[in-house]
Amino acid sequence: MPGMPWPLPWPFDTTYMQLALIAGVAVGASAPLIGTFLVQKRLSLLGDGIGHVAVAGVGAGLLFGTSPTWTALVVAVVAALALEWLRSRGRTSGDLALALFFYGGIAAGVVLAGRSTTNTNLQPYLFGSILTVTEGDVYTIVALGALIIASIVLTRRALLAVVLDEDASRVAGIPVGALNALLAALTAVTVASAMRVTGVLLIAALMVLPVATSRVAARSFRATTVGAAVVGVVAVVVGLAAARQWALAAGGAIVLVTLALFAAASIAAPLRKSRAPDDAASLLSGPG
């Protein structure tokens, strides 16, 4: 990018760290936004499952010599929509059908990558390799992150309504099926964009753990969502710094920082009053 390395302080004083920072912040800010809704819909592990399926896309990309990010994106989106369709029809006994998809995806990825004649292997996509992202990767990752953030900003009210009560949302004329499909597709987009950062096997951590952390302290859904994105960004920045300082695997370091933040939030959270105020008290402030 023009003028790199920019005059940033350590540890972001080199071009490769600055590219990693931009890509990491884009993913750290967008993945938890999707996670907020997945967690509330009890679909925390959907990102993990779609990550497995995306491996088939990576394998195909390596075999055909095209960008693994784009082939992974296509495969992940198709699989996510198929899963959502099965889920909405009640056709899956959950676990088993999901297992077929997930292990099928990994197995196909390994076989396809094995047929590839290039030297590239699956490893950077499984566990991430954010310190080797290219300028082209960064543009793609930022574009996908912007797509995720814009989609959530536009649909967050309706998504919350669907999370609260699907039937009531249908009665209110909210397109529940389309929104569920959108959320599944955005989960797949997140997987593709985060592949180079944490790797497909750890991406679900960056969707779910910041939400768990933010939920400890936040008083509203809005604060939970924004707080999760902040936690995601902080984890990326600290994780990258730690990776540079101690020569750690960056993807794993970022996820471990997220876990540490969750632990810290849980311990530091003041004892919240859990008892609901009396009906009588609320009556005093209303017309009754």
């Binding site: 509330q40 536009l154 649909t155 009210r157 309706a158 919350l160 309504a161 999370v163 609260l164 009560d165 039937d167 009531a168 249908r170 009665v171 209110a172 004329g173 909210i174 397109p175 939920r215 936040a218 008083r219 509203s220 859904f221 809005r222 604060a223 939970t224 859990s274 008892r275 609901a276 105020p277 009906d279 009588a280 008290a281 609320s282 009556l283 005093l284 402030s285 209303g286 017309p287 009754g288």
Partner: protein, 258 residues
């Protein structure tokens, strides 16, 4: 304001439904006029929930026809005219949403689900919270409220689109007497201030029995449709076995006989 001959807000004709060989609804018909407070009662398994899902457009009738404001439920153009309060608070115990956020979600039918809230929308949320006496708890996490308070949050969520027909499914099941009185006050407020029609589906009506305009007794078929006093007068001669009658119905018929 309203003419007696106004078009019904809800009409059902010849509605039948069966789950496999098990017939749940058999040629059911009813109409609700604007501003009318109607209770749909019947013992458990009488088909109340099935009829409700058909009326809401969540289930298609196998025979017969339902119209809301003159349109089939699934093709109702102005969805906000219908308010729905589900049976039990289905709010996850770990949901980090506030009372205000939950109620605002009910406004989307009127505001447009993709639109930002305008001042009128925020006013409507504040007003709905006031009318169920929860304005003091607007920033509270909804999961921290009592069962009765959560029920009133869901009523406010249904009221906030200013519906012309409010349908409530078993709203007072399992809440204490004080919560029932608050619930009754909220409903009466809605009837008087907004002139909305209310359809209350329940098997216990103690708190609102005196306010009802009409009672429809359902057990697969419509067994009675009329004023509460007339029901009290005819009482058990409706062909309903006494054991099958909802508790409040027994009380009504006993009072009518004494």
């Amino acid at each position: 304001m309203r003419t007696p001959a106004a078009d019904p807000v809800l009409s059902a004709h010849g509605v039948s439904f069966a789950f496999g060989a098990h017939r749940v609804l058999d040629d059911v018909g009813m109409e609700i006029s604007p501003g009318e407070f109607t209770a749909l009662v019947g013992p458990n398994g009488a088909g109340k929930s099935t009829l409700l899902r058909i009326v809401l457009g969540l289930l298609a009738p196998q025979k017969g026809r339902v119209e809301l404001f003159g349109s089939p439920p699934r093709r109702l153009p102005a969805r906000w005219r219908l308010g729905y309060v589900p049976q039990r608070p289905r709010l996850a115990p770990d949901l980090p949403a506030t009372v205000e956020e939950v109620v605002a979600a009910g406004r989307l039918a009127k505001q447009g689900w993709w639109r930002r809230a305008r001042p009128a929308d925020r006013d409507a949320v504040a007003h709905a919270l006031e009318s169920v006496a929860l304005d003091g708890l607007r920033a509270q996490r909804v999961a921290e409220l009592s069962g009765g308070q959560q029920q009133r949050v869901l009523i406010a969520k249904a009221l906030v689109s200013e519906p012309e027909l409010l349908i409530l499914d078993e709203p007072i099941a399992g809440v204490d007497a004080q919560a029932q009185r608050l619930f009754r006050d909220s409903l009466v407020h809605l009837l008087r201030e907004h002139g909305a029609a209310v359809l209350l589906v329940s098997h216990e009506l103690g708190a609102v029995a005196d306010d009802l305009d009409r009672v429809v007794v359902l057990r697969r078929r419509v067994l009675f449709d009329g004023k509460p006093v007339d029901l009290a007068a005819t009482g058990v001669s409706l062909g309903v076995h006494r054991d099958d009658l909802p508790r409040w119905l027994e009380e009504l018929s006993e009072n009518g006989g004494s």
